[in-house]
Amino acid sequence: MGKVKIVIVDDSSFSIAFIRNILEENGFEVIGEAGTLDEVKEVVADKKPTLVTMDMTLPGTDGLECTRAIHKIDKNIKVIVISSMMDEEIVREAKDNNVSAYIQKPVDTDELVTAINRITATEELYDYLQDEYFAAFKEGLLDGVNRMTKTLLTYKEEYPFNKEHASAGITVIIGIIGKFSGRMLVDMSKETANKLAGALLRREPKDINEMIAALAEFANIISGNACSILNKKSKALGLRVAPPSILHGDEVHISAPDFSTMTAKADTDYGEILLNAGFKRGEEKWM
């Protein structure tokens, strides 16, 4: 990751110069400044900063209105409020408006630099997870099928999942929780589920309950292994899996979540298996 690009929003030229000095002396790049709502919108849309420092009292607007305007342009831009006012009420309001940190003026250099580093480290970790997670889940499924049924599997397509789709028959959902939260979902026809469960049990499942129990454990192992691969690469992720829930019914549709997930379809000896997983960009943990 390159230099962190920052826009300073403040109506005092003294404050802007002061904050700019601190930032530049500590290796950050100041790419713009603004003092009104219109200027904020313009400079943010134009310069696309990683982060914005935000004064609370501004002529004709306030820091929270500007923060909302920034997040309308790009919700991933981080905002740090730097204001002389600070009380519980306003800090809570700032949190509600997705502000990442709140710092009181006069600015303490260490406090500001620490806040920026904390925020960008979270960003980097999320980017890292986005790059790595789906390969880990695919490996988990491939390895799981291979080791538990001694057969091979071929992935045939892979695409971002952004529209609802019909379940093929049986869906297993596993919630994932750690530094970022997400989920893994496995979907297949009842016929495939039955054959796969037969291979896992090395005999015909006695009834649907036994079939479901086998699938639950199968999905549990896959998600657990995938999360272990990711946790080994970066301890800070701390991913853990919740117990599986298994669903089936008539005309079941799976809704697209409001964060990006990936789907892959795999051909197996037992039929097609759909694998879907994704993680949400976390809400900032406040200090």
Partner: protein, 155 residues
């Protein structure tokens, strides 16, 4: 499973729903079910890890789901369960479960929640990991909603 684990969900319902424009909330029933839940309509599943491990499943019939989404969207009419309505309902369960997690932390139990997964369909059968599921029936402005709590055995 201890019934005290139900209170955080009732508390959270009473706190969250009024913030979303509902005038009244009440608990209308509580039942212990086996590990299988059946619902026609919307089902939203969230995972829980921490000092307690398990799942929360929200079950809502189609009509109620549309009514809830409509109130959450400032009274905008919701005639079908479109993407916007689904997103509102997912966010609702996220808020309800996150607030319940805060209530758990107030009694010294630290838990974290996963993202919600929403499905809809007819006769959806959901098999949970625990032997028993606590099912709490709640109402906001007379619209019913069911919260099913499945915590693993050690609790």
């Amino acid at each position: 499973m201890d019934v005290k684990y139900v209170n955080p969900f009732i508390e959270s319902f009473a706190i969250v729903m009024p913030q979303l424009g509902f005038a009244s909330t009440q608990k209308t029933g509580i039942a212990v079910k086996g590990r299988e839940i059946v619902n026609t309509g919307v089902v939203i599943v969230l995972g829980i890890v921490g000092e307690i491990k398990g799942n929360i499943v929200y079950a809502i019939d189609y009509d109620s789901a549309k009514k809830i989404a409509s109130i959450m969207m400032m009274g905008m009419p919701v005639t079908e369960l479109d993407e916007m309505a689904q997103s509102a309902l997912s966010e609702l369960t996220n808020m309800l479960t996150a607030n319940a997690a805060t209530a758990f932390s107030n009694i010294g139990i630290i838990i974290d929640i996963s993202t919600p997964t929403l499905l809809y369909g007819d006769n959806i059968s959901i098999k949970m990991s625990s032997e028993k599921v606590l099912s709490v029936k709640l109402q906001a402005d007379d619209i019913p909603l069911e919260v099913n709590i499945s915590f693993e055995n050690n609790h």
